[in-house]
Amino acid sequence: MLDDFMTRAALAGIGTALAAAPLGCFVVWRRMAYFGDATAHAAILGVALSLAFSLPVFAGALVVALVMATLVALMSGRGYAMDTLLGVLAHSALAFGLVAVSFLQTVRIDVMAYLFGDILSVSRGDLGVIWGGAAIVVALVAWRWSALLTATLNPDLARAAGIDPKREELVLTLALALVVAVAIKVVGVLLITAMLIIPAAAVRPFSRTPEAMGLSATVLAMAASFGGLRLSYQFDTPTGPTIVCVVAICFGISSVAAGLTRHGRARS
């Protein structure tokens, strides 16, 4: 079954969606979109380094994403506004990564594959890494769910209940770096944030509890990966961006529907 590249691609997409969507809810609730960007963009530097030293791309991306996330956490609250700091770090990381890749004359690599993903070339080994990483992220988020939620609501409230908000932040950082490393092959570094945020944002108007939002975002992201893959096959479009287009369209429909319901309720 895994011999078919379409099957492998579908499984890779679903695995990525499974890891990204619930974590994406926290990224939305805590307003960490730019943080996701910085971590993801740094991963391209990790890709360049792993290729230069003949290391697995996954490991290199993971390590550099982690370093970046830690750097941001350390530098926050030191005189720069958070969005300025993240804007600087996200784009510098991308620029340095691209320059580093250009030095790799011995290895001919297709940068586009890492920027926008190359889901159709996912191997059995990649699939193992993606599902392994996704399993860790899902387990981590499920295990810390209540503590993460309390710390997101109010750090002092968490402290009073014996939860260390700093530790929960670390859990999120680690999970985010893992998602980046997992998703790099599927949607590429430039579109990872989209897979984190758009499903969560699309289901927000129809969710009553955090759990409902996490679950429906996951279902939507999985369906969109599958649908995007089919569409890209049919229309011969790049798969990663097509998947993101599908979630984005879902977001558009959801926003219009939410607006109409509100309007209807106001009139009745």
Binding site: D156, R159, A160, A161, T209, P210, M213
Partner: protein, 251 residues
């Protein structure tokens, strides 16, 4: 005499070069109601955060009774609009509670049947009651209220204070309340501590009878839940923090 629930000795907290608290000694015993008053920026919230463990201590120490359970009602809870949250779910944070327990908590808080309502759709008074109900579900030894009645009108805060008194009577938990109102405090306070970077003075509130003067000051319907606190500072301020209120002459 058992050990205090929280004991603070010689506490100094700095934010960068600014001193938020300097050489503060403070303790609260089991079952006691203590109100901390002080102007804005006097370090009240910093003191609370020091007890919760959220600030670095430059000097001194904070000792908590082993296994101390704290119920915390924050000054305000900024709920991000992207985060959906029903009252029922909020009550179960961080530890899930049984449906019957949650229903009972809402009944006791005087807001029955609100379980399925979104937190964002609550009125200010309802929101405060839910915050208190959640804190009580933790079965605290110490209930910390950070300006919990700040957004409420006078009958609203009177009702809130009455509820706190009931809670203390029912559960025997200690209550630490913070208020920026320097003169009007909860009458059930066993002690009032005036803070302005350091402890300025401490004492008991004057429980004022239902005299016409008192009514003129507080209006009707507070049912004796509020009292006056007379400050008796015997020093002038060294670090330029002028008191906003009238200071009695040194004796």
């Amino acid at each position: 005499m058992t050990d205090p629930l929280v004991e603070i000795q010689g506490l100094t907290v700095r934010y960068g070069s600014a001193v938020a608290l300097e050489s503060v000694d403070f303790a609260i015993d089991r079952g006691e109601i203590v109100t901390i008053v002080g102007p804005n920026g006097s370090g009240k919230s910093t003191l609370i955060r020091a007890i919760l463990g959220g600030v670095g201590l430059a000097k001194g120490r904070v000792r908590k009774a082993p296994g101390l359970r704290i119920g915390y009602v924050p000054q305000r809870l900024a709920l991000d609009p992207t985060l959906p949250m029903t009252v029922r779910r909020f009550l179960g944070l961080p530890r899930r509670v049984a449906p019957a327990t949650a229903r009972q908590a809402l009944d006791r808080a005087g807001v029955p049947g609100l379980g399925e309502r979104q937190m964002a759709a609550l009125s200010g008074g309802q929101f405060q009651r839910i915050l208190l109900a959640r804190a009580l579900l933790e079965e605290p030894d110490l209930l910390i209220l950070d300006e919990a009645a700040a957004g409420l009108d006078q009958p609203g805060s009177a009702a809130f204070y009455a509820r706190i008194e009931d809670v203390r009577a029912e559960t025997g938990c200690a209550v630490l309340m913070v208020s920026h109102d320097l003169h009007v405090v909860m009458s059930a306070s066993d002690r009032v501590v005036c803070l302005n970077g350091h402890v300025c003075c401490a004492g008991t509130p004057d429980v004022v009878a239902e005299t016409p003067d008192y009514r003129a000051l507080f209006g009707e319907g507070t049912h004796g839940t509020m009292a006056l606190y007379r400050h008796h500072h015997d020093h002038r301020h060294a670090h330029g923090n002028e008191h906003l209120h009238h200071e009695e002459p040194a004796e």
